[in-house]
């Protein structure tokens, strides 16, 4: 059963790719309309110096945005948890920031901030909210009796936070980070696209936009492929970290037989 779950998607991928190649070849579709997977792959190899450089740029932006989202989300949630006043004052604006489409904010940010900063801020805006809301949920899900126990033993605020609230919230925080990882990539791409024609950027999204103007469709596909792979790897890494951290005790990381 385990092998089937791995095997089936691979079969689907192989069949899909083969069909795609077949359609392109049988109909003699030119590569500037639709390149076959072989053409995409060979572009990936031949353009690797350019694409890898762009990949690195985008990944770096994503990482910076993700770190900012993680620190900002967890930090804000902790502040909100310590002070209801602060939560009531600021939470609505966190929601507003979240529900306003980032693609619409990006051009504004690009006006007021240096490009690199603007891109990171975009990644942060889309990434921080799931971390914030998940962490808040986690901090509020502390076992009531355990909280009573900490109170009984005269625990300080810091002790309660460090020994009770943060560990209780950890599974939620990690869930938020997993979402934030993918979203940071999206934020980075959106900002790069918005900044695209401005020139200086050399991220993958910029390559996609640039290749579009030049009708270099195979390179668009190659860059898109790299973005997908990057997203999958980010998600996989975060899921792995989450599993490693929680495997000793949390239901989500335990085998079914337990």
């Amino acid at each position: 059963m385990r092998y089937v779950r791995i095997l089936l998607p691979i079969v689907v991928l192989a069949v899909g790719t083969a069909l795609w190649e077949l359609v392109v070849r049988l109909n003699n579709i030119p590569p500037y309309v639709l390149p076959g997977p072989m053409a995409v792959f060979s572009t990936l190899v031949s353009d690797w110096p350019v694409l890898s450089q762009s990949l690195l740029t985008t990944l770096l932006t994503t990482l910076e945005g993700f770190c900012a989202a993680a620190v900002g989300g967890v930090g804000l949630a902790l502040l909100f948890n310590q002070s209801k006043w602060l939560e009531y004052s600021l939470f609505p604006y966190a929601v507003i920031l979240q529900v306003t489409p980032v693609i619409a904010i990006a051009p504004l940010l690009l006006i007021y901030l240096p490009q690199q900063t603007a891109v990171i801020v975009c990644a942060w805006i889309v990434g921080f909210f799931p971390v914030l809301s998940n962490t808040t949920l986690g901090l509020n899900s502390v076992d009531r009796n355990l909280a009573g126990l900490f109170q009984l033993y005269g625990a300080s605020r810091m002790q309660t936070l460090r020994l009770l609230k943060l560990p209780s919230a950890l599974p939620y925080i990690l869930g938020g980070l997993r979402i934030a990882g993918g979203l940071s990539l999206i934020g980075a791409v959106v900002a790069e696209i918005a900044a695209g024609t401005a020139g200086a950027g050399s991220g993958l999204a910029y390559r996609i936009a640039e290749s579009g103007y030049r009708l270099n469709i195979p390179r668009m596909f190659a860059a898109l492929l790299l973005l997908s792979v990057a997203g999958i790897v980010i998600y996989g890494l975060l899921a792995l970290i989450s599993h490693l951290v929680l495997r000793r005790w949390h239901e989500s990381a335990l085998g079914k037989e337990n």
Partner: protein, 273 residues
Amino acid sequence: MAEASSDIDGATSGLAVSTRGVTKAYDNGVMALGPLDLDVRKGEFVALLGPSGCGKSTALRLIAGLAAPTSGTVEVSHHEGETQLGPRPGLRIGFVFQEPTLMPWTSVRENVRLPLKLAHAPAAEADARVDEALARVGLTEFADSYPRQLSGGMKMRVSLARALVTDPDILLMDEPFAALDEITRFRLNNDLLALWRNLRKTVIFVTHSVFESVYLAQRVLVMTERPGRIGAEIKIEAPEPRGEEFRTSAEYAHFCREVSAALAPSYSGQSAL
């Protein structure tokens, strides 16, 4: 109503817990408890018995200081002897909840160590105390296990060890064995009695089981329906040490009948729901 404590007032060598006119109202104004007048002598094992919702858990939380009474006073005796762990109230009181209430993310040892850690006890002393507490409940070899790896009864033992680790004067137990199967419950009842005989802590044990209250306690206080008061007091004068033979004795059955009869008025005119 007569004060439940009327006949121990004179004979006290010291009270561990004393409440006077304690009431607790919910936010919506409904009275949950009281007025409650309760005296528990040092070293005594008292059971608070009552139907669910009569406020017996609330009474325990008030004594522990986890909630403040709406009116009345709660007095808890001070620690005798040296208090190297400081004057925190929690170190005089151990609390065992209905659920084991363990931290799932850390080992049994760390769970038991928690009260000492919160009190900033020196590591060497804490280690020794944790080992001792685990030995008392027979869990030495499970010190490094995680709570999820233990059975319900073992988790409860961990919870008990954690309550004992600060060497409290008073042990408050809120239906600690209610969720366990009967076999495990009987065994833990015996273990608890053995611990009490050895340590002579003051124990206030909340339960809704007539049989458990009679088996364990020196004194059973029967509480009425909400708002909970002490409706009757029954002394269980049975020879020590109690064991399985007491559980099957005619004497035991007699006490159970007496306690059940005292409990009956509190159900009058109401369905169990």
